[in-house]
């Protein structure tokens, strides 16, 4: 296993922003030693029925960054989300920063380039992003060394980002009572997801874990922070030493019962372009929807 530069001695300040429409949590992560920060998994608002895109959630993030006088260095996507649209380009336009995602985005672009019958003008080389991370790649937020850990399974391009004693797990694990993310999207794989989750659980027990989604199972309040130790002990899908086979069987059976996310088509189409809305030949923003294509 890759040797990751874990440094539990750095404790970044983490602010979570919950998006009620999609149950997504976006984060601002601040380097404790400077005013540098990163944004993780931002959200663009969409009224799908009306085709209307707005930026209330992203504006709230931007306001926080401005009010606290922070400098945005990175806009990270843990993966190509299928349930919400990323606001990365909007935030970049207002505050700067580099947009980064896993290098396997190219696999996702290839898959969905076909699904949406994109023309050759849609590049499938990840060039819409400013940085493409490989497993174990490091980058700096101010003085804080961060690294990306390759964690496929939910999608082929998923990465967990670790910043000091905080790890942003994307859609691998959910809160202990929520279990794990689904693995049935194109290129997803339950066995790979299990292996990826083991990589996360191999981090120090005290590592803080921040979720990308929470649905408040069994009526509890929305929550998004837990720890490696907690997940190992209590996660209902992988905790307490569940085997790979048990997990794969359970995950596959469960996924077969799940409906498609409401926003899957606009999400993939926009997010595989790093959050940019495609345009028609006259430059008007437009989504292209395959009928009977998913």
């Amino acid at each position: 296993m890759t040797d990751y530069p874990v440094n539990m001695g750095v404790t970044p300040q983490v602010q979570g922003f919950f998006d009620e429409a999609t149950n997504t949590i976006s984060y601002i992560v601040k380097d404790p030693a400077s005013d540098a920060c990163a944004v993780i998994d931002s959200v663009m608002d969409i009224d799908y029925a009306a085709g209307r895109i707005t930026y209330d959630h992203a504006d709230a993030l931007i306001r926080q960054i401005e009010d606290q006088g922070l400098r945005l260095e990175w806009i990270i996507e843990t993966h190509v989300h299928a349930d919400h649209l990323s606001a990365a380009p909007y935030i970049q336009e207002k505050l700067g920063g580099r947009i980064g995602i896993g290098s396997k985005i190219m696999v996702v672009q290839d898959t969905f380039g076909k699904v949406f019958n994109e023309g050759t003008e849609f590049q499938r080389d990840g060039s819409q992003f400013d940085a493409l991370f490989e497993d174990g790649d490091t980058y700096m937020v101010g003085g804080m060394t961060c690294f990306a850990m390759y964690t496929p399974g939910h999608t082929p391009a998923c990465m967990v980002h670790v910043m000091g004693d905080a790890a942003f797990v994307g859609d691998t694990l959910f809160m202990p009572d929520g279990g794990s993310a689904r693995a049935d999207f194109p290129g997803g794989d339950a066995g790979q997801l299990y292996d990826s989750i083991q990589k996360v659980l191999a981090l120090p027990d005290a590592m803080r874990l921040f979720m990308c989604h929470d649905y408040g199972p069994n009526g509890r309040d929305i929550a998004w922070e837990t720890s490696v130790g907690d997940e190992k002990a209590h996660n209902i899908h992988v905790g307490g030493g569940k085997t790979r086979d048990e997990f794969v069987k359970f995950r596959t059976e469960r996924d077969a019962t799940l409906a498609m996310p409401r926003l899957i088509i606009p999400s993939l189409q926009v997010n595989m372009r790093a959050g940019k809305v495609p345009t028609d030949k006259d430059g008007n923003p437009v989504l292209k929807v395959p009928v009977n294509g998913l």
Partner: protein, 301 residues
């Protein structure tokens, strides 16, 4: 699956009066009809739904199949496939039904003007030629037959600018003008809709004799009524319709209607539906990969 479809029979009231089978699409709250001439056993289908899952955009024909089964089992002869307007809340099944049966399709002629509006929204200047997609485009006052039954076409703008009402003997297919008396009237805030025109259209419908049956386009039940319903009479509508019964003037009605419309979300399927319905229920021409694609304009609404 198709066994789950809720249907109700409204008997003929004698010569010149159709037997009407209403059947319901749960997903969209749409009321669809088989209108039958009891003498000749000729039938027309009105406002039949093509299903669309708004998440995956997969389509289906369960209600249309239900209707064709009904027609086949009873030895009816399908004479017309009619729609009252290009619906915004569901895809129509007209093109598919025509493919299956060869019966001609019909809708109001002002669909041409509706198409012009939507060409702009979609930025598709050459789309929706309309004429090739329908066999008949009915004008106000036009008449035709379903078997021996006389059908009169009434232009009923308001919900859209080109909605038509089919009056078949004593049965009025009023689509999205009136709703059930306990639910009121239809919204007018889609492109080309106006509350003032809807009011006038409703008044023309209510000019018919009190005993005439009114079959509506949508019902979702109400807080005090779970079971969907779609049949009332002109008399009932005049006495009981919650948007009309207190003798509201046209001006008052318009204010109320517009206020209420401002609170309504757009239907889930609208941007997909118009694109298909203005093609008579056909999907766009497939691209070279064999799949059809819809365009969802962003920030036009």
């Amino acid at each position: 699956m198709s066994d789950d479809i809720l249907s109700k029979i409204s008997a003929s009231n004698g010569a010149g009066s159709p037997k009407v089978i209403g059947f319901y699409d749960e997903e969209t709250g749409s009321c669809q009809y088989i209108c039958i001439c009891p003498e000749t056993r000729h039938a027309a289908l009105i406002d039949v739904v093509q299903t669309l899952d708004p998440k995956s955009f997969s389509t289906g024909f369960a209600p249309a199949k239900w209707a064709l089964d009904y027609i086949a089992e009873r030895g009816l002869e399908l004479e017309w496939i009619l729609d009252t307007h290009p619906h915004a809340d569901h895809l129509m099944a007209g093109a598919w039904l025509k493919e299956q049966t060869g019966a001609p399709t019909g809708i109001g002629e002002k669909v041409r003007d509706i198409a012009a509006l939507w060409r702009d929204y979609y930025n598709m200047p050459d789309a929706f030629p309309v004429d090739p997609h329908f066999d008949r485009l009915f004008a106000e006052g036009e008449t035709f037959k379903i078997g021996n039954l006389d059908v009169k076409v009434m232009l009923s703008p308001g919900h859209t600018l080109g909605s038509v009402t089919y009056v078949v003997g004593d049965a009025i297919f009023a689509h999205d003008t009136l709703m059930m008396p306990d639910a009121g009237t239809s919204r007018c805030d889609f492109p080309g809709g106006t509350a003032a025109e809807l009011y006038d259209s409703i008044m023309r419908i209510l000019d018919h004799p009190d005993a005439f049956r009114v079959f509506i386009g949508h019902d979702y039940g109400t807080d005090s009524r779970d079971e969907p319903a779609w049949e009332s009479t002109v008399g009932q509508q005049k006495r009981e319709n919650i948007h009309l019964k207190d003798g509201a003037s046209k001006a008052e009605y318009v204010v109320r209607r517009e206020k209420r419309d401002a609170t309504l979300a757009l239907p889930d399927r609208m941007l997909a539906a118009l694109q298909v319905n203005l093609r008579g229920g056909r999907l766009p021409e497939p691209e070279e990969d064999g799949k059809s694609y819809l365009k969802i304009p962003v920030n036009k609404f």
